[in-house]
Amino acid sequence: MLGASKGGAIMPAASAIRAVVVDDQLTMRTLIRSHLREIGFVNVGEASDGVDGLRVAKEEKPHLVLTDYNMPNLDGLGLLKALRADEATRSTAVFLLTGRADKELVQRAAQLGVNNYLVKPFSAAVLKSKIEEVFGKLS
């Protein structure tokens, strides 16, 4: 089973990892999905805010949730907290995506159990390396 096993020895295929992209900007979701496709992901869902993201995560049970921080209704930290509070999604890997580097925000996310974070804009190569930090080298 795939999971967020930092430094794990298994080499999962990117195509076997289910991901969900949560961002209130359609353009950003499209861009991140494009990056994931480039890395080899084939199963990528999306949601437009934290509330929608939580619903999609519970339905699709992804291995990885990539969530923006600044969103209406429920922000990225709220989504992270909700995912960690639910038995079904507790072990889902969550990456926080932020528009600018914010040490305090990252610390709060770390306390809530975030697995990794990226500052936008980022390339597909950077995203891949961040995923590999958590899932291990992708085959």
Binding site: D24, Q25, L26, T27, M28, T30, L31, S34, H35, N70, P72, G99, R100, K120, P121, F122, S123, A124
Partner: protein, 195 residues
């Protein structure tokens, strides 16, 4: 309240008639809900997106230029989307609502003939972004061969444009450099009220 992106980049450059003028340079943005604040920028092939919420009376302006040369569409989109997102996020934090946001677009001139039309790429991106995100564009002045000085009142969404013709482009070239961030004295003569 005025929220420049980062103090070192967005500059209050003076006061005129009780208004504070904040100059926004390439790669940066500024937002404000203060009716006495004017956001100013100088555009060549760059594009400025002026976004505002007419109900919350907050607005902001960014000034972006997509990367040149790579021809990599994804790379271009990546930087453009980020420029727009930073501005929108700041406005939402100040009380704007995404469905109410309106936009005015300026810039994208072709200042040099015989080289790739960077301005057109910037225009195409900005228009496509607004369309994708469902943000209504209530006015624009794009393309052409003249640089532009833009003044934008973020609390009301009012915008004025001054086209800088050939004889004034020396001023533009000077102001465009990072070493010279102070704009020339604002010239109201000949400026055109837009929208």
């Amino acid at each position: 309240m005025t929220r420049p992106a980062q103090d070192r980049f967005a500059h209050v450059v003076g006061e005129r008639g009780g208004e504070r003028v904040v100059h926004v340079i390439q790669g940066e943005f500024a937002t404000s809900a203060d009716p006495d604040v004017v956001l100013s920028t100088l555009l060549g092939s760059c594009v400025a997106a002026c976004l505002y919420d007419p109900q919350a009376h907050v607005g902001g302006l960014n000034h972006f230029l997509l990367p040149e040369g790579s021809g990599d569409a994804t790379e271009n989109v990546r930087y453009g989307v980020n420029a727009m997102e930073l501005l929108i996020n700041d406005l939402l934090q100040m009380g704007a609502a995404r469905p109410r946001l309106e936009a005015k677009l300026f810039g994208g001139a072709r200042l040099l003939s015989g080289v790739s039309d960077i301005g057109q790429r910037n225009i195409a991106f900005a228009e496509r972004f607004l369309h994708s995100e469902g943000i209504r564009c209530s006015g624009s002045s794009l393309g052409g061969e003249s640089a532009r000085r833009i003044r934008f009142w973020p609390a009301t969404g009012r915008a004025r444009q001054l086209l800088l013709h050939r004889e004034a482009e020396g001023v533009f070239a000077k102001e465009s450099t990072a070493a010279s961030r102070k704009p020339a004295p604002a010239a109201d003569d000949g400026s055109v009220e837009l929208f």
